[in-house]
Amino acid sequence: MKFGVIVFPGSNCDRDVAMVTRDLLEQPTRMVWHEERDLSDLDVVIVPGGFSYGDYLRCGAIARFSPAMQATLDHAQRGGMVLGICNGFQVLTEAGLLPGALVRNRDLNFICDRPTLRVERTDFPWTQGYSRNAVITLPIAHGEGCYYADADTLKSLEDQQQVVFRYCTPEGELADAANPNGSLNHIAGICNRQGNVLGMMPHPERASDAMLGNTDGLALFEGLLNAVQAVA
């Protein structure tokens, strides 16, 4: 399974993702420069965390115009897998691949922490490695991670069961105190209706290496491998 990791000027989690897909999972992984237009060799496109183009106008607002993102739209339309992590999630919402927006955290400060999340869907390739309603711990590090969408969009997301991860207490309960950034409906990650595009604020790649202790994120990448192998 071939992974591509998009590198915008300002991306800073690109190598972290490649460490997981290339070094830990031993999958072919290609760094995709933001000016590239041809992604046809890739099975999975990952839009990594960071501050694409400095995020000066609005997080992800410039990145959506890049040739690599245009190619990612095509890739997604063909049913290809796309994962946006942190800034990558922001880029995917700006690009229209996912609904809603990520706005300033409730308390206005940047937050680096390791909240607990509830896995809401386990029938996607991304999450089949988890048990339903599993509570996992993944790192977050963002200033603009508060998920926002208008009431109709939110209702549609819930109706279509597109919410994949929600912030929760260690016991799996939804609570404001367990919601680090004020996201509506405690949303930490969502997918599109087809399930091939996933955006999430937490960093699964930072919880994949046993040498660093936490491996709760590895199942996400492994699930993907199993899914594609099953199809093939």
Partner: protein, 781 residues
């Protein structure tokens, strides 16, 4: 023109450049003529303390700088040490105190940017940042604004540039209220085969200006940094630079890519004094000259004059000397990253810096006059400690109210020792710094082994990020810490500076790291004042001695003098003398490290080093946090370093961690033994039951027993299954050690008893609340 003609500048104009009249005369003597406006500005910044260390250089000479693992010592952009397996670590600390006092957000942000450039200029990829911060009292609204501004600035820059901020220290004391200290330390892993140096070479080689554009921002920042702050300093905002972490991130990538081509002969960051400093230092370090054309420089403003070009401190810029004929290769790399790269000059044989502007020579100065052969002031230090010290030393514990097993009466109020402990945990100096590090991305790059607050030092895995590296082979780690108890230094600069080194080494030992080398940031008052100079001289002597004895050479650092503020009556108020020690250590295997919190139930708790009931005076309330918080007294003699014992205790701790016997380790610093035990409970989310000796020496007060401070003390926890091996090992060490108690399985409280009576009995939840909310409560309330 000769020196006898009248100067074309008024005395005020000369003083405005930060130059003294005799320094101006020396410039005229060196040039054989009067300088022009641009040249005067160049001398002003280059002869500032910030750039040329004219007051501190004679003192810095005594530092030990060599060792088996030292690859690059002082004099380059950063020091470099050998971490084994071909891994080389660059590291350095730098201050941004004055800019942060005036504009905390940008001041702190550009401080981070500057220290990162020192690292990647050498060919190293930055892998971690630590900060040492000092502010006034959080009760003061202006201090809160400075504190939150500085933290936001560090957060903004460090997070965006993608380098984890993994550790640091924060102190609060009225001594810093008008003059906060912002010291940033960066670590980097060498990515290029050769360490990139700053000495220009190869006559005719092109000089490239790379990175961002030049504007009027940060004009004369180096001179500004070398002057005392006053109420008018707020009007000096143009002297504060504005940072762009996005550009810096691209600059890191582009520079490392460029260095790997082999086409870069030398590189220098444009930090303080921008084009002036980089051209003259590269020329002087290489024993050559540089011709530089200002018309080639990409600008962000119009109508700039040479003086402004030469003194601008616009950020995210570098100067390269390239191999002739390969400049286009480099330019292509920078343009790909959206950065400027232009040929703006060349290396010449004549050892001068010659600046062209609009086709004419705008400045022409011998390179060494600016960068190397600069003024040095040999000052005499006081023969006797100054009066304030003698007064403070006259204090003794006998001046405190009497106390007994149950507590102490302070200002008519009886307090139990548990209540005293809660007050100490609520002191912002001791309390959790989560409010700070919560705002820093401390995990980016996927190598952070221990998170901030989890241990006495930061631990980061050494894993090359370029090329395919099997992660299971990347087992080495670096531990890093920044330390200085400035109250100790204030009350005894020599012993206090020694203790800063000893504490840094102890903190590294508590995560299982072998201390290797230090970088130091000397934050002091005006050297022109005898007391401040005495503090500086004594502290340098202490640093030198401790570094020699603990085998941790100095690889470089930064000097920040004139840290004083004028109060409303115009009286200078010096900061505490604050020689911050940034130390790095090697962890051979990151699986063999530990944090400070108890890891398991029923573990055995030991105190290594100075005994609980030591009554020789080695444990003291002098200069202690207890004395400051509970009795509002800053006095006494701080604890002295017992080097031999420090080495034994630290080595025993490291060995215990590596053997897998020791599961947690925490040194005793501010607040003494009981605060350390409380922190182990909070960190491990687990109570503990301890027993202190039944009878105490008559001369030992209960508050000294519980909260007295000393060096060479580490609290560790050990699994009972290792008790035999561990104690057999300890029996062979030339030091005191004692089993004090066990961690609890169910009881969520810290209890310390002696003779079957409580000394301390506190629920974990109460301790946690006090410790965790102390800073947030003051910031939000």
């Amino acid at each position: 023109m000769t020196a006898t003609t009248p100067a074309p500048f008024s005395p005020e104009e000369i003083a405005d450049e930060g130059l003294k009249p005799e320094e101006y005369d020396e410039i005229v003597r060196r040039l054989g003529r009067h300088p022009n406006r641009a040249e005067l500005g160049m001398f002003g910044v280059m002869w500032s303390e910030h750039c040329c260390y004219k007051n501190s250089r004679p003192l810095l000479k005594q530092f030990p700088t060599e060792g088996d693992r030292i690859l690059v010592g002082p004099g380059e952009n950063a020091g470099v040490v050998d971490m084994g397996d071909g891994l080389r670590l660059a590291f350095k600390i730098e201050s941004h105190n004055h800019p942060s006092a005036v504009e905390p957000f940008q001041g702190a942000a550009t401080g981070v940017g500057g220290i990162l450039r020192d690292i990647f200029t050498m060919g190293a990829r930055p892998i971690a940042v630590l900060n040492s911060l000092r502010f006034g009292n959080l009760d003061d609204a202006r201090t809160r604004r400075l504190f939150s501004g500085v933290v936001s600035g560090i957060s903004h820059y460090g997070n965006c540039v993608g380098v984890p901020t993994v550790g640091g220290e924060v102190y609060f004391d009225p001594a810093y209220s008008g003059n906060p200290l912002v010291n940033a330390m960066a670590l980097g892993l060498m990515e290029t085969p050769e360490i990139v140096k700053s000495g220009a070479s190869g006559i005719g080689n092109p000089v490239l200006y790379v990175g961002s554009t030049t504007g009027r921002d940060g004009m004369g920042g180096a001179s500004f940094a070398s002057a005392e702050l006053s109420e008018e300093s707020d009007q000096d905002r143009p002297a504060v630079q504005v940072g762009d972490p996005f550009l810096e991130k691209s600059l890191i990538e582009a520079c490392l890519e460029a260095f790997k081509t082999g086409a870069v002969v030398a590189a220098q960051d444009m930090g303080a004094a921008g084009i002036t400093c980089s051209t003259s230092e590269m020329a002087a370090n290489g024993g050559v000259g540089i011709e530089f054309d200002l018309d080639s420089v990409p600008v962000r403003e119009t109508e700039m004059v040479p003086y402004e070009f030469l003194l601008s401190e616009s950020q995210e810029r570098m100067l390269f000397v390239a191999q002739a004929g390969r400049e286009q290769e480099l330019i292509d790399i920078f343009e790909r990253w959206g950065l400027h790269a232009v040929v703006a000059g060349k290396v010449i044989a004549e050892p001068i810096v010659r600046i062209f502007f609009q086709g004419e020579v705008a400045a022409e100065v011998p390179a060494t006059a600016l960068a190397d052969n600069t003024p040095i002031y040999q000052r005499e230090s006081l023969a006797e400690p100054p009066e304030y010290v003698q007064t403070a030393w006259a204090w003794s514990e006998a001046q405190l109210p009497e106390c007994d097993r149950t507590g102490i009466t302070v200002a008519g109020q009886k307090q139990t020792w548990s209540q005293v402990l809660l007050q100490l945990l609520d002191s912002p100096i001791i309390a959790s710094k989560r409010w700070v590090y919560h705002q820093y991305d401390h995990q980016v790059q996927n190598n952070t082994v221990i998170f901030p607050g989890g241990a006495d030092a930061a631990v980061v895995r050494l894993r090359p990020q370029e090329g395919e590296v099997a992660t299971e082979l990347a087992h080495r780690g670096v531990a890093a810490t920044v330390d200085c108890n400035a109250r100790y230094v204030y009350l005894n600069p020599f012993e206090g500076a020694k203790m800063a080194v000893a504490e840094a080494a102890r903190n590294l030992s508590c995560v299982g790291a072998d201390p290797l080398a230090i970088t130091d940031n000397l934050n002091f008052g005006s050297p022109e004042k005898p007391v401040s100079y005495w503090q500086l001289a004594e502290a340098c002597r202490g640093l030198s001695e401790a570094c020699r004895e603990l085998s941790t050479p100095v690889t470089g650092g930064n000097v920040s003098l004139y840290n004083e503020t004028l109060d409303a009556t115009g009286t200078p108020q010096p900061i505490y003398p604050t020689p911050v020690v940034g130390m790095v250590g090697l962890i051979p295997d990151i699986q063999q490290t530990c944090g400070m919190g108890w890891r398991n139930a029923n573990s055995l708790i030991y105190l290594l080093g100075v005994a609980v009931d030591e009554a020789s005076g080695a444990v003291t309330l002098g200069a202690s946090e207890y004395l400051a918080v509970i009795h509002q007294t800053i006095a006494g003699k701080p604890p002295q370093v017992n080097v031999a014992l420090e080495k034994t205790v630290q080595a025993a701790c490291r060995e215990g961690i590596r053997q897998g016997w020791v599961q947690s380790a925490h040194d005793c610093a501010e607040g003494g033994l009981v605060v350390a035990l409380a922190e182990c409970c909070i960190g491990g989310d687990r109570g503990a039951t301890l027993y202190f000796p039944e009878t105490l020496p008559e001369t030992l007060r209960y508050d000294t027993l519980l909260f007295g401070e000393t060096g060479a003390r580490i609290v560790v926890s050990v699994d009972p299954s290792h008790q035999g091996d561990w104690e057999a090992f300890l029996a062979k060490q030339d030091m005191s050690w004692k089993l004090l108690g066990t961690t609890n399985a169910t009881l969520d409280s810290l209890t310390i008893s002696a003779n079957e009576q409580w000394l301390i009995n506190l629920p974990l939840s109460e301790m946690k609340t006090a410790w965790e909310e102390a800073i947030a409560r003051r910031m939000d309330g």
